[in-house]
C-alpha cells in the first residue's frame, strides 16, 4: 500500500504541467498565508484622494497594481483576497470531506434502508444546478463568509458522498473485508482500517478538484454580491465593483482580480488532473 502510493506519486512528479501548477498553487497559498505581512497597505482603509490610480505601468510604485474606486490599494486587497478564497476553500473542503465521507461510507457500508434514505436526500440536493443551490441558500442566510462557506459546502457534501459511496461499494467486495470480519473485526474497525485507506486516493483527487471549484463558486457569489459583503476584499466582489470603471478605461480593478481567480482555479485543476492521472490508471492521456 505504502510503496504503491509512493510509486504513484512518482508518476505525478513526472507530469511537468502538474508540477508547475503545484508550484504556482503553493506560491499562492504562501502569499495568502502571509498576506497581512506582505501587504503594503490596509486592504479596507479608503483614501478618496487617491482613487483609481494606475499602477506600475504608469510609474506608480507606491501602489504597484493601482488603487480601486475608493482609493484602496489593489495589491493589498488582492493578497487578502487570496487569503479569503483559500480560507473559504479549505473550510469547504474540510466540512465536505468529513460529512461527505461519513455519509458515503455509512450509506454504502450499511446499505438497505439507511442507504435508500441517505441517497434520496442526496438526490434532492443534486436536483439543483450547483450554483443555484449555493446562491439560494446564501441569499437566505444573508451576507457573511461563514454563510457562503456553508452554502458552498451544501453543494459538495452530496456530490462527495456519492463519490465515496461508489468507491466503498467497490472496495466492499474485496475478500480482505470478509477476512477481517471473519477475524471478528467490528464495523468501526473495518470502516476505519480497511475502507477509509482504500478510498483515500480517489477522495484526494476529488477534493483537489473541488478546491478549484470552491474558489470559483466563492468568486461567483462575491461577483453577484450574495453571501459576501461588498467591502470584503474577495476577488469576485472586487472585480464586480470595478466593472463600471472598466468601460471608462480603468481596467486594472477588474483585470487583476480576474487573473488571480484564473491562476488559482487553473493551478488546482491541473494538480487535481495530474493526481487523477497518477492514481486512476484507467485514464489515458
Amino acid at each position: 500500500m505504502q510503496s504503491e502510493f509512493l510509486q504513484k506519486l512518482t508518476i505525478f512528479r513526472k507530469n511537468r504541467l502538474a508540477m508547475v501548477a503545484l508550484f504556482v498553487a503553493i506560491l499562492l497559498v504562501v502569499l495568502a498565508l502571509f498576506a497581512s505581512f506582505i501587504s503594503p497597505y490596509d486592504p479596507v482603509s479608503t483614501d478618496l484622494e487617491n482613487k483609481l490610480l494606475p499602477g506600475f505601468w504608469a510609474g506608480n510604485w507606491d501602489h504597484p497594481l493601482g488603487t480601486d474606486n475608493l482609493g484602496r490599494d489593489l495589491l493589498s486587497r488582492i493578497l487578502h483576497g487570496g487569503a479569503i478564497s483559500l480560507r473559504v476553500g479549505y473550510m469547504v473542503i474540510a466540512v465536505t470531506a468529513f460529512f461527505g465521507t461519513l455519509l458515503g461510507i455509512v450509506s454504502a457500508y450499511y446499505g438497505g434502508v439507511v442507504d435508500i434514505l441517505i441517497m434520496r436526500v442526496i438526490d434532492v440536493f443534486l436536483s439543483f444546478p450547483p450554483l443555484l443551490l449555493a446562491l439560494a441558500i446564501a441569499a437566505s442566510l444573508g451576507a457573511g463568509l461563514e454563510n457562503a462557506m456553508f452554502a458552498i459546502s451544501l453543494v459538495y457534501i452530496p456530490q462527495m458522498a456519492r463519490v465515496v459511496r461508489g468507491s466503498v461499494l467497490k472496495v466492499k467486495t474485496n475478500s480482505f473485508i470478509e477476512a477481517s470480519r471473519a477475524l471478528a473485526g467490528g464495523n468501526m474497525w473495518i470502516m476505519g482500517r480497511h475502507i477509509l485507506p482504500n478510498i483515500f486516493p480517489s477522495a484526494l483527487v476529488y477534493l483537489t478538484l473541488l478546491l478549484a471549484d470552491a474558489i470559483l463558486y466563492t468568486a461567483s457569489l462575491g461577483f453577484l454580491g450574495i453571501g459576501i459583503k461588498p467591502s470584503t476584499p474577495e476577488w469576485g466582489a472586487m472585480l464586480s465593483s470595478g466593472k463600471e470603471y472598466l468601460l471608462m478605461g480603468q481596467w486594472w480593478v477588474t483585470v487583476f482580480p480576474g487573473i488571480m481567480i484564473v491562476l488559482a482555479v487553473l493551478s488546482f485543476n491541473l494538480v487535481g488532473d495530474g493526481l487523477r492521472e497518477a492514481f486512476d490508471s484507467k485514464l489515458k492521456r
Partner: protein, 336 residues
C-alpha cells in the same frame, strides 16, 4: 423494458425527489435569520403592512400547514405574489423565461458544434503539439470565471472595438412583436432583417461567454471518446481494407463516439440554466437569472422561491430527457 415504461418509471421515481425539492425551496424563507417579514419590508414598515404580509404569506400558521399550502399552490403553478411588484410570481417568471432559454440554447449549440469539431480534430492529431494545446486550452476554459470572461469580451468588443452592443437583448426603442418570446425567431417572423441582426449582435457575447465551460467539457469528452472508438476492432478492419482515415473518422467512428458526447451536452445544458445567472448579470440580459438576482437584493422571497423551483425543475427535466436519449441511442443500455 420498453422506452415508455422506462420513462414512466423514471417519472414515478421522480416524485419523492420533487417533493424533496419543494420542501427545500419552501424552507428557504425559514432559513432567513431573524424575522423574515422585517427582512422583506425593512424596519420602517407599519404594523398593518407587516400584518398583511404575514397573513398573505401564511407565516402565522403552523409550519406543516404553511408547507402544505405552498405545495398545493406550487403544484398548480402558483408561487404567490411578488412582495415588490404585487404581481403574480409565475407571470413574471414566464415572461422572462424565453430570454434565458434563447441564451442557453444558443450557447449549447455554439458549444456543441465547435466542441465536437475541435474534439474530433484533437483525437485525429492525437499526441501532437496541436492536441496538447487543445487539451490545455480546454482546461483553461473550465478554469476561467465566465463572468470575468464576459466582462473582458465586453471590454474588447464593445468598449475598445465598438463592434458589439454592451448590454441588453435588443437596441433601445426597437419594436419587437413578441410571438414566441425568442427574439431571433420573432424578428424573422416580423420579416425585419436589420432587427434580427440587431438581436443576434446582442446575443453573441453573452452566448459566447456562457458557452466556454460546456465547450471545454465537450472538447474533452469528444476527444477521449473518439480515442476509445478509434482503438476498436472495426476501425482497424476499416483501415485494413484501405478506407481513407478521414472517411473512417466521419463515417464510422464519429457516430459511435458521439453517444457520451450527447450526454455531456445535455448535462451541460442543464447547468447552463444556472450559469446564465452570471452571464445575464454581466450583460444585463433580461432573463430569469437576472430577475433572481434582483429579487434577492430586493428581498422578494416569493419570487426567489418561484425562480429557484422553476430552474431546479427544468434542470431535473433536462437530465431525464438526456437519460432517455442516451438509452435510446445506445442499444447496449437496457432500460433498467
Amino acid at each position: 423494458m420498453g422506452l415508455l415504461r422506462y420513462l414512466l418509471k423514471r417519472l414515478f421515481l421522480l416524485i419523492p425527489t420533487v417533493i424533496g425539492v419543494t420542501i427545500l425551496v419552501f424552507l428557504l424563507v425559514h432559513f432567513i435569520p431573524g424575522d423574515p417579514i422585517e427582512v422583506m419590508l425593512g424596519d420602517k414598515a407599519t404594523e398593518a403592512a407587516r400584518q398583511a404580509l404575514t397573513e398573505r404569506l401564511g407565516l402565522d400558521k403552523p409550519m406543516y400547514e404553511q408547507y402544505w399550502n405552498w405545495f398545493v399552490h406550487a403544484l398548480q403553478g402558483d408561487f404567490g405574489m411578488s412582495v415588490q411588484s404585487r404581481l403574480p410570481v409565475t407571470e413574471a417568471i414566464l415572461s422572462r423565461l424565453p430570454a434565458t432559454i434563447e441564451l442557453a440554447l444558443t450557447a449549447t449549440i455554439v458549444a456543441a458544434v465547435f466542441g465536437i469539431i475541435v474534439g474530433v480534430s484533437a483525437a485525429y492529431h492525437h499526441n501532437s503539439k496541436f492536441d496538447h494545446l487543445l487539451v490545455t486550452f480546454s482546461l483553461v476554459g473550465v478554469s476561467i470565471p465566465i463572468f470575468w470572461l464576459g466582462i473582458m469580451l465586453m471590454f474588447l468588443f464593445s468598449a475598445i472595438l465598438g463592434w458589439l452592443p454592451v448590454s441588453g437583448r435588443i437596441s433601445m426603442g426597437a419594436g419587437v412583436q413578441e410571438a414566441t418570446g425568442f427574439y431571433l425567431i420573432d424578428t424573422l417572423l416580423q420579416g425585419d432583417i436589420s432587427l434580427f441582426l440587431d438581436s443576434l449582435k446582442h446575443l453573441l457575447l453573452p452566448a459566447l461567454s456562457l458557452a466556454t465551460i460546456p465547450l471545454s467539457q465537450i472538447v474533452r469528452v469528444t476527444r477521449s471518446s473518439m480515442l476509445d472508438v478509434l482503438s476498436e476492432d472495426y476501425v482497424r478492419t476499416a483501415r485494413a481494407k484501405g478506407l481513407p482515415y478521414r472517411k473512417i473518422i466521419y463515417k464510422h467512428a464519429l457516430k459511435n463516439a458521439l453517444i457520451p458526447v450527447i450526454t455531456v451536452i445535455g448535462l451541460q445544458m442543464g447547468k447552463l440554466l444556472a450559469g446564465a445567472i452570471l452571464t445575464e448579470t454581466v450583460f444585463s440580459w433580461p432573463g430569469t437569472g437576472r430577475l433572481l438576482i434582483q429579487s434577492i437584493s430586493n428581498r422578494d422571497y416569493p419570487m426567489v422561491q418561484g425562480i429557484v423551483f422553476i430552474l431546479a425543475f427544468a434542470f431535473i427535466l433536462v437530465n431525464i430527457i438526456v437519460d432517455v436519449i442516451y438509452a435510446k441511442l445506445d442499444p447496449r443500455i437496457r432500460f433498467e
